[in-house]
């Protein structure tokens, strides 16, 4: 099967202010030559800490941030080479759900109009059909049609996220980009939205590019996971391989840091793997592995040569010394 999305060597750099008149202009390397593919009907999770470039990578993929290099083949067409008008018409296949359901809905517009607007802009169907579809999708995401004339502030956070999802679905997209869709919601509400997203994926055959910093959430929704660190993918694997046998020490550290019900204070739990400090600056990133400064396995080689993504175990990992971690395995 040909992939829905095939991203090759995607790079995003932001120019920074010059330190002085004659100095060379520094660049912030937000995304550094990443490649990945997404098959139709699957969900790819992109995880990483803040500043790892996960949102920028997704936004550059769908051309909401300008890429400085690379190719993005969507359904066989390179999105980065399309004219603005052609790109605009393609957008009906690609929709987006934002993190903050409070600021991503226009407070002065009734939700009926909010949900209908993408169809108006894309000229989908007749006005009567559009009205019908709004009602249909409103039901599909679990809202009542009698709420259509209300304003966003009359809904709770979870309901607003449902409105965002309905709005994203009205143009029959193939790809849904979810940018931290549940991190602004309460835990009990998170489960409602995650179950809804999982159900919609199966019913409508959607593909997701799912950005999150929460490994538990990604594990629940995604089929494949890419872990990003300082603008690069450091490990890319199917869900089971990534969570059961992570190869990259950074993935292992992330899993070890995520809270889990199995780790009890009463049983004297002590975190086996500790990562100290913060990631290095993306302005002039280090020549070698970006994780070397925080890595327990780092050798002189790691600081000099950048590792490439290579198959290890069931994963692709960018590490000179990949492999399972003994301490992590003993603890679990």
């Amino acid at each position: 099967m040909s992939p829905l999305l095939d991203v090759r060597d995607l790079t995003v750099r932001f120019p920074m202010p010059k330190p002085s008149l004659f100095a060379p202009r520094p660049h912030l390397e937000a995304v550094r030559q990443i490649s990945f593919t997404l098959e139709p009907g699957r969900a790819l999770g992109i995880v990483g800490e803040s500043g790892s470039g996960k949102t920028t990578a997704a936004m550059a993929t769908i051309r909401l941030t300008e890429a400085s290099g690379g190719e993005v083949h969507f359904d066989g067409v390179d999105l980065l080479k399309l004219s603005p008008e052609k790109m605009r018409m393609r957008r009906r296949d690609i929709q987006l759900i934002f993190q903050d359901p409070y600021s991503s809905l226009n407070p002065r517009t009734r939700v009926n109009d909010i949900v209908r607007e993408p169809m108006d802009l894309m000229e989908v169907g007749t006005p009567a059909e559009r009205r019908e579809r709004v009602v249909e999708y409103f039901r599909l995401v679990g809202l009542r049609p009698d709420q259509l004339d209300l304003f966003p502030h009359q809904f709770s956070g979870g309901q607003r996220q449902r409105i965002s999802i309905a709005r994203a679905l009205t143009t029959d997209p193939k790809l849904l980009v979810c940018d931290e869709p549940v991190s602004a919601l309460d835990v009990a509400i998170q489960a409602q939205i995650l179950n809804l997203l999982a159900r919609l994926k199966d019913e409508l055959g959607l593909s997701y590019l799912f950005i999150s910093h929460d490994l538990g959430v990604v594990r629940h929704v995604c089929d494949d996971v890419a872990v990003m660190y300082l603008g690069k993918i450091v490990e890319h694997a199917p869900r089971a391989a990534l969570f059961d046998a992570p190869q990259h020490p950074y993935t292992q550290a992330l899993i070890s840091a995520a809270p889990s019900l199995a780790r009890r204070k009463s049983k004297g739990y002590v975190r086996p793997l500790k990562v100290s400090g913060d990631p290095p600056s993306p302005i002039n990133p280090p020549p070698g592995c970006a994780f070397a400064e925080r890595c327990p396995r780092a050798q002189p080689l790691c600081r000099e040569v950048q590792p490439e993504l290579e198959p290890v175990g069931g994963s692709l990992a960018a590490c000179h010394f990949p492999g399972p971690d003994e301490a992590l395995r003993d603890a679990s």
Binding site: E49, Q192, L194, R264, K265
Partner: protein
Amino acid sequence: MTALLEIEDLRVTFNTRHGQVTALDSVSLHVNEGETLGVVGESGCGKSITALSVMGLIPSPPGRIAGGEIRLDGENLVGASDKRLRRLRGAEAAMIFQEPMTSLNPVFTVGEQIAEAIMLHQKVSHDRAFRDAIELLDRVGIPSPESRARDYPHQLSGGMRQRVMIAMAVSCRPRVLIADEPTTALDVTVQAQIFDLLNEIQRDFGAAIVLITHDMGAISEMADRVAVMYAGRVIEEASADNVLDHPLHPYARGLIDCIPALGREETDLKEIPGVVPPLHLLGEGCAFADRCAHCEPRCLREKPRLVTHGNHPAAHPAACHGVEEGRI
């Protein structure tokens, strides 16, 4: 063992445009020395109001402590003078807030802000206080503390700012440390660092910690005892193991089942339908009734009381008619 901090039948009301609402309704909690109490619930359940009441920081008006006692080492803080509260705040009980971005003053260096807290409670010179501040920054794991002490908050990352907040909170060796969602704005790796640091500080100083969170995973790693709150009441209370392994109240079960935790196999998350009801719409019965799968007519009529039902070894206080009748 006598409890260091004891809250008994605390009732806090707020005047709102919907009339007077009860934000906390007969809340009773206690924390012993060297112990961590986890307070868990969704937003709007009264967790933060409980913390603010202890610190004497309920905005008044519109808020008012309408009844009950808060005893710190036997001394009742409800009705204590402002002067007395100012003495205790910071010295005996300190708080770490959720937002390290907004709780530091942007126009003073972080060293200066920690030194200020020290000088408020101890008779020391400015130089000495600033040296102590540097030592504290070192203690909470900030690299090159001498130069970092001269940095302004905006020059530090989120995790570092939260460390500064913790340094400030422990500067006078408080006996009770209240951490109100201390890691919500932070990455998981930094959250792990902050949790480890809080545990270390507890070992070294023997402080009692009240950890407020909505994350049962955090409870599992940090807490000795847990109180689950819903709509201004404590609905279940027991040791962390007891609550996590044998939750009684349907809400407590829901909170545990709905997290997409690692190391858990099922693919479908159990959701809790609906949302926390607004306080002015609380009726006669159980506040959780309209979200509860086990709701019966009695639940709509009568508020359940927080008592232990049955004599099972894992039995513990839960406010639920279903548990009392053995239905759940």
